[in-house]
């Protein structure tokens, strides 16, 4: 994956065929894992905090629905192939959405693996191998998207 062009508010990346296939699979199969409840506070357990946590989880459920729709759109509209060369074209808002989709995938796989401290540990079952692979692939694209063409 490499940055081809960054003109104005658009990014254009060139992808190898395998990268494009993997990214497309990550997008079209999103979400891979079920959404687990999020915590609003570690120490505060009063009624107000409980309400806030409820709202947070409702909001995150809605957000995941939006990410699923966006993932389908990204796979269809932003990923394209011309004469054997794959391109990923992103506007800023799509870049952030793509990062959120990828990190939802990465952290979701990690949580389903049992939140291991050592994320490089050898999987002891085919299911864990699959989750570990998904986690690493999502991380691969995240790292490239953030590192390539992000102005600081």
């Amino acid at each position: 994956m490499k940055l081809l062009n960054q003109t104005g508010d658009r990014w254009e990346y060139e992808l190898q065929q395998k990268e494009a296939e993997v990214l497309k699979a990550l997008l079209t199969n999103f979400p891979f894992t079920k959404l687990l409840p999020a915590r609003m506070s570690k120490g505060n357990h009063d009624a107000e905090s409980f309400d806030r946590e409820n709202l947070l989880n409702i909001s995150l459920t809605q957000h995941r629905g939006e990410l699923k729709k966006a993932a389908e759109k990204l796979a269809k509209e932003c990923l394209s192939e011309k004469a054997g060369i794959w391109a990923l074209k992103l506007k800023p808002e799509y870049k952030e959405i793509l990062l959120q989709i990828l990190n939802d995938t990465r952290t979701g796989a990690w949580r389903e693996l049992g939140e291991p401290e050592d994320i490089h540990q050898k999987p002891d079952s085919p299911a864990k191998l699959q989750l570990g692979t998904i986690m690493n692939l999502a991380g691969y694209f995240e790292e490239h998207l953030v590192s390539l063409g992000t102005k600081y």
């Binding site: 999020a38 915590r39 609003m40 506070s41 570690k42 120490g43 505060n44 806030r52 709202l55 947070l56 909001s59 995150l60 957000h63 952030e96 990062l99 959120q100 990190n103 939802d104 990465r106 952290t107 990690w110 939140e115 291991p116 401290e117 050592d118 994320i119 986690m135 991380g139 995240e142 790292e143 953030v146 590192s147 992000t150 600081y152």
Partner: protein, 100 residues
């Protein structure tokens, strides 16, 4: 004859609150460490959400990484809640804790 200096006790003046907001509780927005979120990603998210420059975002990211957590900001309930929601949308582990 020299005058004897006596200790003077000044009254402690309390600042009058300008509005009800001054009395409202405030919260720390805290980001917690985990082994899965990439360091470059965390820095990017802090910059996006808080509008920080890279140096400040990296400082907080390193604090999360090395100390297990970083207090990102102190805000009223509504704004703290907003930031926690934003951080969770990016799948960072964030909470709001009452500030003393």
């Amino acid at each position: 004859m020299p005058t004897v200096l006596e200790p003077v006790t000044k009254p402690v003046l309390r600042k009058k609150p300008e509005s009800d907001d001054d009395l409202a509780p405030t919260f720390y927005v805290i980001c917690w460490n985990d082994p899965v979120n990439l360091m470059v990603y965390v820095t990017h998210v802090f910059m996006k959400i808080f509008g920080w420059n890279r140096q400040k975002a990296e400082k907080h990211m390193m604090e999360v990484h090395e100390k297990g957590k970083s207090v990102l900001t102190r805000e009223g309930a509504e704004k703290a809640e907003f930031y926690v929601h934003q951080l969770h949308k990016y799948k960072l582990q964030a909470t709001m804790e009452p500030a003393e």
